[in-house]
Subunit: 123 residues, 4 copies
DNA sequence: GTGGTCTAGACCACT
DNA sequence: GTGGTCTAGACCACG
């Protein structure tokens, strides 16, 4: 399982982990009942604290994406790819909305915002 | 001077202040050597902590938009509206790019990202 | 605010905290918009790690009982005492069910279980 | 010997084993000097780790219910069924008391606690 | 081996 | 001052 951590981002490490695991699940690279790497294993692999990985796993479980069995490990729960996609889209929507509102607060015209957006998307 | 604070946003208050003052400067509503309201005045007006206003003013000064004279007040520095607009656009560009990249990391298609964007912009 | 920690119990400290705060909220001893003690303050008062208090507060927020404002503090959210009572009853139900099932596994008759229960309740 | 494991319960597997063996002893289905199945045999039969069975047997021995002879096996010790029943009742009593106290701490009335209890027992 | 809890302290962002 | 994140390491319970 490939997780990439970018410590320069202002995104918490545990969130980067949950985001990427959610995507792995949605893409079918992690399937129901698959065993996630143990907290310790992943923490060593990523060279981060075990607690940080645990927090990521805790969040995944509380959102229903995984099931943790004490003494055994963490497993991918039954999933609904559709539902997951919708959730991720909502996150994206929130991010985009925040950026747009900020641009407007700065007095940038919607037309300019759209131009920038298209520039980046096509770029 | 009209500043609007929205505490429900996930944008820090001090950033909302600097953004709006930058825009006032760019629009010419605040001109070179204009006197910004004092930290205490603005903090009372906005019903927020004076430290928050001070942080906003500090940032404005460190970015060269204002000049603070000890014991007198804070004044608008000589500015180049064109340059300022460009800078604000760059910030927006960074925000949009980050959102787009996150969406792509989640496996959302460019077409879907664009749809969401248009939905929000038109909405 | 009075929180009592019992480290001899096998109940996690953070759960003892969340349980007691929920009850304070339900009993009206903590009302909407009341400010909970800061993470550090409570941790010093209870002589436990700040992280443990934070975990308790995090859980309270994720269950909707409190609202946390960065840099300001943690506040009691609008509550529904009815709903909260129902939830606590469900917890009690789970505990009782577990005890009963264990008794049955040990071959103790329902009549004996009921006798014991009444003895304790009346006692 | 029939042991039933329920992994969905929140009761540790080793405790389910010890509980049931204690009951078998109390009911006379296991008598003094009877040979318990070997750790490996039982672990295969129940499809669980041998370490888990060993932990159950260790607990039984430390509580005086069995005697383990190195290289030979585990045998039922001399027992007093009456005494055993009393002990199991005491455990149940402790569990029920803890549940009741928790309910009371949450401000649930004794009447409500009793209703819940009866509901589960009859259920 | 696994996860669950807790500690003591660090650094950062926000008010 | 506040909360937010992360670390390095400890001890416990479960398998």
């Amino acid at each position: 399982m490939k997780i990439i951590i970018n410590t320069t981002l202002m995104v918490p490490i545990y969130e980067q982990i949950t985001d990427q695991i959610k995507t792995l699940i949605r893409n079918g690279e992690l399937k129901e009942n698959d065993n996630l790497p143990s907290v310790r294993t992943l923490s060593k692999e990523l060279k981060i604290s075990a607690l940080t990985v645990k927090k990521a796993y805790d969040n995944l479980e509380s959102e229903g994406f995984t099931i943790t069995v004490h003494g055994k490990g963490t497993y991918v729960a039954a999933t609904n790819a559709e539902l997951l996609l919708e959730e991720q889209k909502k996150e994206l929507e929130a991010d985009l909305e925040q950026a747009i509102q900020k641009g407007r607060r700065c007095g940038i015209s919607d037309e300019d915002i759209r131009s920038l957006f298209e520039l980046i998307l096509e770029g």
